[in-house]
């Protein structure tokens, strides 16, 4: 029930720093992120939390770093699943689900943390190329033959609904440099975060140019009594049904004995 205490610890690449600086060509920057654990468990009453991911820059140019021209974007992306988006329309006064559009491989969750507002970091085009940011995620329609207008409408409705439920979030200023090398990213985990394999990715930009990407995997599991029930209901559904029926009969019988008034 308590706040999530999953911290991803730093992998401080001291080794990289200790490399002989004698390399003639200026070493290119790269980025590393590390998670202290590859799996976290949340209980059923989970009400959302912040996940902190530490990371480091390797071979940063001290001048660029001082001028603050390094930018980092960290994304925690949930497993991809198909989604049906439905639209209600009024028929004879009654609101009915009429039109729908199915999208394949939509990330269930998508939390972004950045050093600065996205539009200040780089060009919209490079976001598109990297498929970075909730608004640049490509949602693959199951029926690409539908009119582009419809697809566009349902795609934006999908993003809007995901943002409204907190599954797609953006934390501007969520990445902070602790030193020239070390940074800390805080991404939001929504209360309804899906279980499964999540992918943490970090993107490094230097003066608006994309430099390098690094990723790590994180398994999110639910634990606790309620989750056991959920698992039994899905894995042993027939036995679960038998149990539900027996429980009802037992309650009915006991209730009669305990509360009998006749």
């Amino acid at each position: 029930m308590g706040p999530l205490r999953a911290f991803a610890a730093a992998i401080l690449s001291l080794a990289a720093a200790a490399l002989p600086a004698a390399a003639q060509t200026p070493a290119t920057e790269s980025i590393q992120i590390g998670l202290s654990t590859d799996a976290i468990s949340i209980t059923a009453g989970f009400s959302g939390a912040d996940l902190t991911i530490f990371g480091s820059l390797e071979n940063p140019d001290p001048l660029v770093a001082r001028q603050g021209r390094y930018d980092v974007i960290v994304v925690l992306e949930g497993p991809a699943r198909p989604v049906v988006v439905r639209r209600k329309d009024r028929v004879l006064g009654v609101w009915i689900n009429l039109e729908s559009e199915t999208f394949e491989n939509v990330p269930v969750s998508y939390s972004v943390a950045t050093t600065r507002p996205l539009q200040d970091i780089t060009e919209p085009n490079s976001y598109k190329q990297l498929s970075l940011g909730a608004s640049n995620l490509y949602m693959q329609p199951a029926e690409p033959s539908d009119s582009p207008m419809t697809i566009e409408e349902f795609t934006s409705a999908l993003r809007e609904r995901k943002a409204a439920t907190g599954l797609y979030s953006e934390n501007v200023g969520g990445v902070q440099f602790l030193s020239q090398n070390l940074f800390r990213a805080t991404v939001r985990l929504a209360p309804n975060i899906p279980v499964g394999t999540h992918k943490a990715r970090a993107f490094l930009f230097k003066s608006g140019m994309f430099v390098k990407e690094s990723s790590a995997q994180l398994e999110i599991r639910k634990s606790g009594f309620e989750q056991s029930i959920f698992r039994v209901a899905h894995d042993y559904s027939f036995l679960y049904g038998v149990f539900a029926v027996s429980l009802a009969m037992l309650t009915g019988w006991l209730g009669r004995i305990v509360f009998r008034k006749d």
Binding site: V83, L158, E226, F230, G241, A244, V258, K261
Partner: protein
């Protein structure tokens, strides 16, 4: 005190659910109905997804009808043969209902269909009951003796073939309407999460002319097994039965039912029926309003099922 429902996947207040169960149990004890038709809409008003409200409602109905059927069994006011034939129909109807349920869910029309069925059925039953009980109240006030239909009269139903003798009910009737009635109730049970007593009881009395003393026991007997079957199939095909939710409702329900039954003995039949009719109509109107009010968001997301 909050509790997380594992299947509905939302947090709810334990006391709200216990109170809901107790209130419906009280009413069901008072009026001699199962209460499924009140539980499911109440759960929907409480933001439980309709698919889960229906399946869990069916589960809850087992508890209340089991406890009711036990006392009828002890008094011997239960026709097992009639109940068995009704049940055979019920299994068929319930299976069809589950299939339709899964289909509608896939099409995204389940919530709408459940609401429409409730509005239509509760509106009709509530309206008829209200008219009947108001007439009865008027008649008793003006002092006129209530006009009773002759129960021995035969109608078209009694001319159908495949007759069968039901000794406990002193009945010799075709199995077709009995099976049909069972199937209709089974269908409603799986789509609406109701026991169906509020349709079964009048149908047995007025259509099949079953003696009133065995009607409730027999109807409860059939409802136990139809809703048990419905619960089982919902659990296996749709995974929509939430035991935690069902248990809280049952616990409140069985307690409330015993007190309700006692309170019911102090009220007169017509008044009781008029009150129930008003309640049923209120639920129907509330559900109807939701159909017409502009939703806060026109778009909704769903996984592929």
């Amino acid at each position: 005190m909050g509790i997380y429902l594992p299947i509905a996947e939302i947090s709810v207040n334990v006391f709200v659910l216990l109170a809901m169960g107790a209130a419906v149990g009280f009413l069901s004890g008072m009026f001699g109905v199962g209460g499924g038709f009140l539980i499911t809409p109440l759960l929907i008003f409480y933001n439980i997804p309709p698919a889960i409200a229906v399946a869990t409602g069916a589960n809850q109905v087992i508890a209340s009808s089991f406890s009711g059927a036990l006392s009828h069994f002890k008094r011997g006011t239960l026709d097992f043969k009639l109940g068995g034939v009704l049940l055979a129909g019920g299994i068929v109807g319930s299976t069809a209902g589950i299939y339709v349920f899964a289909l509608l869910r896939r099409l995204g029309q389940l919530d709408l269909f459940i609401s429409l069925l409730y509005v239509a059925l509760l509106g009709t039953v509530g309206g008829l009951m209200l008219v009947e009980s108001v007439n009865a109240l008027r008649a008793s006030r003006s002092g006129a003796a209530p006009v009773l239909k002759k129960s021995g009269q035969h109608n078209w139903i009694h001319r159908l073939p495949f007759k069968m003798r039901f000794r406990a009910s002193k009945l010799f009737v075709s199995v077709i309407p009995v099976l049909g009635l069972g199937a209709a109730i089974g269908f409603l049970s799986s789509i609406m999460g109701v026991g169906g007593g509020f349709i079964m009881v009048p149908a047995l009395i007025y259509l099949l002319k079953v003696p009133t003393n065995v009607v409730i026991g027999t109807s409860l007997f059939q409802i136990i097994f139809t809703s048990a079957y419905t619960t089982l199939v919902h659990a296996t095909t749709n995974q929509t039965v939430d035991v935690i939710l069902a248990f809280l409702l049952m616990a409140g329900g069985v307690a409330g039912a015993q007190y309700g039954a006692k309170a019911g003995q102090r009220l007169r039949g017509e008044q009781l029926r008029a009150l129930l009719a008003l309640l049923v109509l209120a639920v129907a109107i509330r559900l109807a309003i939701d159909l017409f009010v502009t939703p806060p968001n026109r778009y909704s997301l769903a996984g592929l099922t």
